[in-house]
């Protein structure tokens, strides 16, 4: 029963922030590109529920628009990880012990030696900072995550008798990977995808906090915190609300991931019966 509570709470939090991002395309309380120095650094009030920043911009509006950046960066980064990582993992498992397997796995180890921040640093040092570079940096780091996950799961699936039966029926490794292996790792992918999604949001926030992510005027949660750095000692609301937005989004995704795992993992389901 705890499983469904996690799923509901996580789904609710995720839905709230996704909805905020979607609504922001059509409507926000205040235009975030307009500066209003007269209304700068206001504490929360009815007019500005979460206050205003040092340029007089409405923080609630900025958080709504910032959700767009965070979610977009994280989704694309997870997409890169899945699109490139899953086939690599499947291929490595299908030819276990071959040169290809060895190259793929060593390549993965190598990427693991570069935390996404280091990749972002190298990319930024050469190409300059941007949201796209943040996506690439986080995305590259996601590739080995998915490749390893899929390879590990696929290796155990390849020892199943139904795979042997498919081979007896004359099916080749590509077909078997598509028909028998992939459908049986999708649950894992959904769960891991949710987790990487939340890690992506954290990483994007960290990158834009140090100036390696989305650039002005595009609002992002991480940079809102960076801007608040010099002022939050006397205007704490500047730091508290964007931070809470990150915390709650990531928490929501993690809870949802846990809930999905309990729901989808047949091992746990059998144990409950």
């Amino acid at each position: 029963m705890r499983a469904s509570r996690n799923l509901w709470l996580g789904g609710l939090l995720t839905a709230v922030f996704s909805l905020a991002a979607v609504i922001s395309f059509a409507w926000v309380p205040y235009d975030v590109t307009k500066l209003d120095i007269g209304a700068k650094l206001l504490s929360p009030s009815w007019a500005h529920p979460l206050g205003t920043d040092h340029f007089g911009r409405d923080i609630l509006s900025m958080i709504m628009v910032g959700a767009r950046t965070s979610i977009a960066v994280a989704i694309v980064a997870v997409g890169i990880g899945i699109v490139l990582g899953v086939p690599l993992g499947l291929a490595a498992a299908a030819r276990k012990g071959s040169l290809m397997d060895e190259v793929i796995m060593r390549g993965n180890d190598l990427i693991f030696a570069f935390p996404s921040l280091l990749i972002a640093i190298m990319i930024t040092a050469v190409f300059g900072a941007s949201a796209v570079n943040a996506i690439i940096a986080i995305g590259i780091f996601n590739i080995p995550v998915f490749a390893r996950l899929v390879r590990g799961a696929a290796l155990s699936l390849w020892t199943r008798d139904y795979v042997l039966a498919a081979r007896v029926s004359g099916k080749g490794p590509v077909r078997i990977s598509a028909e028998h292996i992939l459908p049986n790792v999708t649950n894992l992918l959904i769960v891991q995808g949710t987790i990487q999604f939340s890690l992506g949001i954290l990483a994007e926030a960290a990158l834009s906090y140090v100036g390696l992510g989305a650039q002005p005027p595009l609002p992002s949660w991480g940079r809102m915190l960076a801007d608040a750095q010099t002022m939050f000692s006397f205007k704490p609301h500047l730091a508290i609300f964007p931070g809470l937005a990150i915390l709650l989004t990531v928490l929501g995704l993690n809870l949802m991931g846990d809930g999905l795992r309990d729901l989808l993992d047949p091992r746990l389901r059998r144990a409950q019966r």
């Binding site: 693991f112 030696a113 935390p115 280091l118 050469v126 915190l225 000692s233």
Partner: protein, 315 residues
């Protein structure tokens, strides 16, 4: 065992080699002419030529790679273009902030996570377990730099227990220096401790379900004895993996946390170099950090073999 260590050493060397090639290609080849990149658009032709000479850009790629790597091996990391000082010197100063910070955080994270994870696992399904799991769920989700800002707000600005930033320096003595690293280390450690505690708990629950735990109980061991004597060491194997991974996150996270606390470590140095387009510094510091990560993973592999006798035979 010796064969195992040797095998791991070979793979360590190989990783370092490939990593150095990747970094070299990325920083020195991808931008085209690094000298032109570093000086910007309006550079004079003769200053460009001088910089090329200084950077050794006139040789072939192979010569340049070799001089970079052989330099690193002998402790010569090149000369910073902006500061006109040897990179090795700059790194040496700052490393004694970044490295202790990462180790401090790693120690904190492990010291918190082990007892908490074990406690939760041994009280599975109880209020204690649910409470701990809820707290770690928050800990995993909290961005460490934001947590750092909150701690500054509470412990430095309101309670005045710590200073809001800066580093006392090791010259000021061990304790003052550690004190200025304490808030940063806690900020770094908390999310990692939460992850580690969760892994510890689930790994322990997995091993507690194994057949050999039932065998141990049939011998007359109590639940707690079976946990401490049989489950714990077996549960450590996946936990070690996470500790290894965490070190690389701590190094990366440290770069950011140094920014919050204005600590003059490698992280600040990297960002200043990026702003100044000082590629030489970026290249060497990134290589150094990657070296640290690979070295830690090597240590984790060895630790595996110490814990698990089945791995010692496999090369």
């Amino acid at each position: 065992m010796l064969r195992f260590v040797l095998g791991r050493l070979v793979s360590l060397t190989l990783s370092l080699f490939v990593a150095s090639v990747v970094i070299f290609l990325f920083v020195e080849v991808v931008p085209g002419d690094p000298a032109a990149y570093m000086l910007g658009l309006n550079a004079q032709e003769d200053t460009l030529a001088a910089l090329r000479e200084q950077l050794g850009l006139n040789g072939t790629l192979l010569e340049r790679y070799w001089s970079w790597v052989s330099g690193m091996l002998t402790g010569d990391f090149g000369t910073s273009y902006t500061y006109r000082t040897p990179v090795a010197e700059m790194v040496a100063d700052r490393m004694w902030i970044s490295l202790p910070l990462a180790l401090y955080a790693l120690a904190l994270s492990t010291l918190i996570a082990f007892p908490v994870g074990i406690w939760a696992a041994s009280k599975r399904g109880s209020a204690v377990d649910t409470g701990i799991m809820g707290l770690t769920q928050l800990g995993v989700a909290i961005p460490n730099f934001w947590f750092a800002m909150l701690m500054v707000l509470i412990f430095a600005i309101n309670l005045r227990w710590f200073s809001a930033g800066g580093f006392a320096g090791w010259d000021a003595g061990f304790w003052p220096a550690m004190k200025s690293l304490t808030l940063p280390a806690i900020a770094l450690a908390l999310p990692q401790a939460s992850i580690l505690a969760r892994v510890m708990r689930s790994s322990l629950l997995d091993t507690l379900g194994e057949d050999y735990i039932r065998t141990a109980r049939a011998k007359g061991l109590t639940r707690a004895q079976a946990l401490w004597r049989h489950a714990l060491r077996n549960a450590l194997i996946p936990v070690l993996t996470i500790i290894g991974l965490q070190f690389s996150f701590l190094i990366a996270g440290g770069i950011i946390i140094e920014n919050v606390f204005y600590l003059p470590g490698l992280g600040r140095m990297i960002f200043q170099s990026i702003a100044a387009r000082d590629l030489i510094v970026v290249e060497s510091v990134v290589m150094l950090l990657v070296f640290a990560v690979i070295l830690v993973n090597f240590a984790v592999d060895i630790a595996y073999a110490v814990v698990d006798p089945r791995l010692r035979v496999r090369a």
